[in-house]
């Protein structure tokens, strides 16, 4: 490996050149992430041939260099491969400087560009010319009479995957700013550098049933309960896909549509059934018994509740209280509930004091309202006392019923909406925290999740003063949990 120096932005830069054929296989990091994402490795012959076949001009710049001569610097962060040539770019130079370059170092002008840019070629070919280009650029810049002087680089950049394709994550996990605000997500990529969850941590999804045969959920299932009927499983009726979608947000093990804590275990609990007329029917006693079963028998550590409405009931509140105080051997279960979608006061049970009440944010880091920028004017997140924090709740990719039933004809849905989608993000984050800090109490986890959430900003850039106007940051919560152990 040879190291060359050149100047850029007035500072010395080092170029670590290796023969392209031995350069490290390209392992790209997705933009903004620290986690390697394997991409197809480039080999030297491919690069050389592609360069020459695509452009006669580039062929000229690399004249005299075989694929065995080509030098390159691989950038593990961007996945880019940069090749130096035996030409140098000079910008903003007086004629006397170009004459100096020509007379003293033998460089010839190849091309004049716009706004005073000139490209000059070293007299030597091959790698000697590359070394001459670095040297000439450095010497010329140090004379102090040019705006820029450095080798002309050829860059081979990986194609950036278009957002929304199967190989990219949903905005909720990694918001790349396409159709939203860059970074307005739960920071899943960063969180996954610490953990993707643990099978020891069981998350209960209390809903209208979960398709426990779904290929992306089935491996996670450790317990099922049907509190509605007498089935030995918790699978839903007909097209009822809500619980399956909620479970997927937490722990889908699909590579393209992963949950936030994909290595966690799933406890599926059916507590409700649709009546076909826009209502869910629940029996408060059965719901309370199901909650008790979760912490007592199924050993769930987190209870995710994407349901709510109606007046409060002590029998359910007491069951939640037992889960919070007696679950996990006295450390307590983390209780999470959706606040509701009517843009009105927070629903029961989310408004219970020690339940994490979760509202919806959109990809612009706004609280979801009927007028927020996402364009979904038919619903807004509930608000007020009982709202503890927000999590993504608009157009969330997740699991759908296996096969043609459910929201879509396939196994996944890409537009799951509502605070029903938000609450499972927080449940997933709690599962991540418990994977690294299993001895933390439920109250501590609750405090960490709320305390590390990112405050939303107003249009003027100030912190929003609205209660609960902060969006889940799973990475920050994980770091705080690790410090707290």
């Amino acid at each position: 490996m040879a190291t060359y120096k050149y100047y850029a932005a007035g500072r010395v830069r080092r170029f670590h050149a290796s023969p392209l054929r031995t350069a490290a296989p390209v392992a790209a990091l997705a933009a903004g992430s620290r986690e390697p994402v394997p991409v197809a490795a480039l080999d030297s012959g491919q690069v050389a041939n592609v360069i020459r076949s695509r452009s006669e001009w580039l062929g000229i710049l690399l004249e005299g260099m075989t694929e065995f001569d080509l030098l390159a610097q691989s950038d593990l962060c961007s996945g880019a491969v940069t090749l130096p040539t035996h030409s140098v770019i000079v910008d903003g130079a007086r004629a006397s400087e170009l004459r100096w370059l020509r007379d003293r170092l033998g460089f010839e002008t190849v091309r004049e560009g716009r706004q005073g840019k000139v490209l000059l070629r070293a007299p030597q070919g091959g790698n000697a010319g590359v070394a001459a280009a670095f040297s000439a650029g450095e010497r010329l810049f140090r004379r102090g009479n040019v705006a820029a002087a450095h080798p002309n680089f050829i860059r081979a950049l990986p194609v950036i995957t278009r957002p929304g394709t199967a190989t990219s994550l949903g905005w909720n996990l990694q918001n790349d700013g396409h159709d939203g605000l860059y970074g307005a997500d739960v920071h899943a990529r960063a969180a996954w550098t610490i953990t993707r969850g643990s099978p020891e941590v069981r998350v209960a999804v209390l809903d209208e049933g979960v398709d426990t045969t779904h290929p992306s959920l089935r491996p996670a299932v450790v317990a099922e309960l049907d509190a509605v009927g007498v089935n030995s499983h918790a699978r839903p009726d007909g097209d009822d896909a809500h619980g399956t979608a909620c479970a997927g947000v937490i722990l889908s093990r699909d590579a393209a549509v992963p949950g936030l804590a994909p290595l966690s275990s799933l406890v599926a609990v059916r507590i409700a059934r649709g009546d076909g007329n826009g209502h869910w029917i629940l029996d408060d006693f059965d719901t309370a018994d199901a909650i008790d079963w979760c912490w007592e028998d199924a050993r769930a550590a987190v209870l995710s509740n994407s349901w709510g409405g109606g007046p409060p009931t002590d029998v359910v509140a007491h069951a939640f209280e037992r889960a919070r105080t007696r679950g996990r051997g006295g450390l307590g279960c983390v209780l999470v509930a959706a606040v509701g979608n009517d843009q009105s006061p927070v629903n029961f049970p989310a408004r219970l004091p020690l339940v994490l009440g979760v509202g919806a944010s959109n990809s612009w880091d706004e609280i979801k309202t009927r007028t927020s920028r996402d364009g979904e004017s038919w619903w807004g997140s509930n608000h007020g006392p009982g709202l503890d924090l927000l999590a993504p709740g608009v157009r969330i990719p997740t699991t759908d019923l296996h096969g043609p039933r459910g929201y879509s004809r396939g196994d996944f849905v890409y537009d799951f909406n509502g605070t029903s989608a938000s609450a499972p993000h927080v449940a997933g984050a709690a599962a991540l925290l418990l994977a690294v800090a299993p001895r933390l109490t439920a109250s501590k986890i609750r405090d960490i999740i709320i305390g590390t959430a990112d405050p939303l900003r107003t249009a003027s850039g100030r912190r929003s003063q609205r209660a609960g106007a902060r969006r889940l940051n799973a990475y920050a919560a994980l770091r705080a949990a690790m410090r707290a152990t």
Binding site: T165, D283, H318, Y414, D415, F416
Partner: protein, 176 residues
Amino acid sequence: MPYFYAAGKRVTLTVESSLWALDTEALAVALIGESIRKRILANSRRLRGKYVLAHVPSSALESLRAAHAVQPVYRSADAMLVALPEVRVEESRPETLRRLRAWIDLRRGSIEVSEAEAGRLTLRPASGDGVEALAIANELQEEFTPELAEARFIRSIEDPNLNLKARIRPHRPNGA
């Protein structure tokens, strides 16, 4: 006006005058005409277990009440509630529990009692009447302020999918 207690506070209930919760087992043996029975069931909506939600002709109401086949339907906070003839009671304080048991003992004939574990009791009024269950729970609340005394409710809440499900578009990555 009917009510119940939650977190020590009164929650008022509004009676839904046009709808009733029907016990389909009791309905089968109630002294009403077969055509009326069929008409009621044809327009009913399934609630939970043996219960359905239905409109009941006023001419059949007394017979159905006599057969303990109907329970009133209430509304509260955007939900529909049906009180079933069952009360759950929880109490861990020994003295309060003793007084509760004494109160129940005085009503052994009219209330069936089971105690799965100490301090967790289930009371069932012999009348099979949800309204009576509501009254028992309220009396216990007002007399003893136990940790829990609540009638068993079936609740019908808005489907979280409502207005969301219909707008979810089948969609594939890359627009496929």
